[in-house]
Amino acid sequence: MTTTAVAHETLSTAQAINRALHDAMTEDPTVLVLGEDVGPLGGVFRVTDGLTAKFGEDRCFDTPLAEAGIAGFAVGLAMNGMRPVIEMQFDAFAYPAFEQVVSHIAKMRNRTRGRVELPLVIRVPYAGGIGGVEHHCDSSEAYYAHTPGLHVVAPSNPSDAYSLLREAIASPDPVVFLEPKKLYWAKGDVALGGDREPGIGTAVVRRQGTDATLIAYGPAVPVAMEAAEEAAREGRSLQVVDLRSIVPFDDATVCAAVESTGRAVVVAEAAGFASVASEIAARVSERCFHSLSAPVRRVTGFDIPYPPPKLEHLQLPSVDRILDAVDDLQWEDA
């Protein structure tokens, strides 16, 4: 895509996603928004607010309460000329749809030798930090990232939320779009419009730094940025890479960043074992082996079920925990 001058507005992440849906539906009559409570209510996070009123019940509508049904129904819509955008109300409530996602959405294109494409987007209000009760704060990206055939993206700010979603809706491939819940209300400048540089598949360096590289995505990015800020006060220069796109993965940007500092800490909210953070640590350790002055550290959620609200602060990667990991990067031999 080419970049053209675009309008700018200050929006929350939720508003930016709402706008992306609105603009995509305006430009393309085949874009449909469906799910539980996405119609008149506008979604439990108000992300689909106003879409039914504006585009009518055929374009944005409530479905029966059945996630496998929603995903499977969307497969059929996508097979037959539509571009469905489905909402899973909370990440843990996407699990009933797992078979449809893994066995069909991810495999349909390959199965049919490219004849049947599924241009659909699965929106998942994602991760924690909102004091939600059990099953309302899961981080499920690893399940999707491990499944070949899906694109998996996780914006960390309103502007990426807008542009990545526009791109996801325009993509001929199915995209799992992870929306960090705790960032829904975070405001930021948003570049509007459809034409832009590709974001899916590209990571960005959010902050330059020379001593070590923090690699994060989605809800962990603001925390990593804070940690870098804090480290700077302590005289340590941390670089921050925001993946944005988990699949495809931007090896070039990530490796260049790590090679420039020789040290890396991966930050992610999900439980660490066999996770996306594991993949990043493994890739960086393998590809940047000779530039690494210290082992790649991971700051992730512990390998426990997401805690109840009163204890979740201990599960979430914190500035202190990130700085502890940075302190561990064997500076003595530096």
Partner: protein, 366 residues
């Protein structure tokens, strides 16, 4: 086989024994439960209503994270608990805190999930109540398994499993009813049809003649009941429990009721329903209806009513006190219960937390 089919189809209109004005219906008098059962049920509803409203108040005061109130559904909540014996099991869904309290659950423990101290506040074995969780309909196959295990041991246990109208759309609802039917498990499925799944009205959830009509598709008798008529609920549900106990297999009961308040405090019901719909249903209030009958029949007098209110106040007081008491959560709990023995990985991770906490403490002491 047709006779079979007829036996499985629900009555043409929901079973009602007491009209909204509290007067017995034609069918009524024959089936009316005993006076003391009705009194017990009324007392339970007074407590349930008070508990619902107390919990909602605690949310407004910021002592509870969220509360899905069953205000208006108290007849269903109380009947579900009242028809069960001690050895039976109750599998509630996330909105059924009042039913758990009605079965003897400690109000403070019951609200644990919603207060945020821990996921499940009570011991499921103590009162034989499945844990309250939010993934809809997922508790239904659990209920069938519990019932089947009891049956294999020749116990007389019956399991009553609850879910909402929206939850009937989930695959787990279908699979649970079919398993129960095929294994002839002593389970009573009780669907509280309160007309909404958050913002989605029943008409967009199902276009079946009634949710009770789903029974025949599994070979299960289905019945529909006025869910605001405690007398009818006690009659139909206790009949279903008795048949299940007698080895006649599972049953499906739909209670037609209404969610008077918003889905939770976080919800704005004005976005999807009109006030007059709510007022119309408020007129069918289950407490008003039963009280009218009990007073007209002289079964309930002011003294008794006052006693019930006082008992309900006592529950409200215990709930308030418990919610206002802040228990310091123990970080070790994060790792303590994941496995019977923590993995080496969890031991390492707990050490990280301990190290962090000790350092923050020592800083605090500086």
């Amino acid at each position: 086989m047709t006779s079979d089919v007829d036996r499985m189809l629900p009555s043409k209109t929901p079973v009602m024994l007491l009209g909204p004005d509290g007067r017995p219906s034609a069918a009524g008098s024959a089936h009316l439960p005993a006076d003391d059962e009705l009194l017990r049920g009324f007392a339970g509803m007074v407590t349930a209503r008070r508990f619902n409203d107390q919990a909602s108040a605690l949310v407004r005061q910021g002592r509870l994270a969220v509360y899905p109130s069953s205000h208006g559904q108290e007849a269903c909540q109380v009947a579900a608990a009242q028809v069960l014996d001690r050895e039976d099991w109750l599998f509630p869904t996330y909105r059924d805190t009042a039913a758990v309290v009605a079965r003897g659950g400690d109000p403070v423990e019951v609200l644990g999930l919603l207060k945020g101290d821990w996921h499940s506040g009570y011991d499921p074995y103590e009162l034989r109540i499945g844990p309250l969780t939010t993934p809809l309909a997922t508790q239904l196959p659990h209920a069938v398994g519990v019932a089947h295990a009891a049956r294999l041991r020749g116990e007389r246990t019956v399991v009553l499993a609850m879910c909402g109208d929206g939850a009937t759309s989930e695959g787990d609802f279908h699979e649970a009813l079919n398993f129960a039917a095929v294994f002839h498990a002593p389970v009573v499925f009780f669907v509280q049809n309160n007309q909404y799944a958050i913002s989605v009205p029943l008409a967009r959830q199902s276009v079946a003649p009634s949710l009770a009509h789903k029974g025949v598709g599994y070979g299960i008798p289905g019945e529909q009941v006025d869910g605001n008529d405690l007398a009818a609920l006690l009659d139909v549900l206790s009949g279903a429990v008795a048949r299940a106990r007698a080895g006649e297999g599972p049953q499906l009961v739909e209670g037609r009721t209404y969610r008077i308040q918003a889905h939770t405090n976080a919800d704005d019901a004005t976005r999807y329903r009109a006030d007059d719909e709510v007022t119309a249903w408020a007129a069918k209030d289950p407490l008003v209806r039963l009280e009218a009958y009990l007073r007209a029949e002289g079964i309930l007098d002011d003294a008794r009513a006052a006693a019930f209110t006082e008992a309900a106040e006592e529950v409200a007081r215990r709930t308030r006190d418990g919610m206002n008491r802040d228990v310091e959560p123990d970080p070790d709990d994060l790792f303590r219960f994941v496995y019977s023995r923590p993995t080496p990985q969890l031991v390492e991770q707990l050490a990280v937390v301990h190290d962090e906490l000790s350092r923050t403490e020592s800083e605090a002491h500086r």
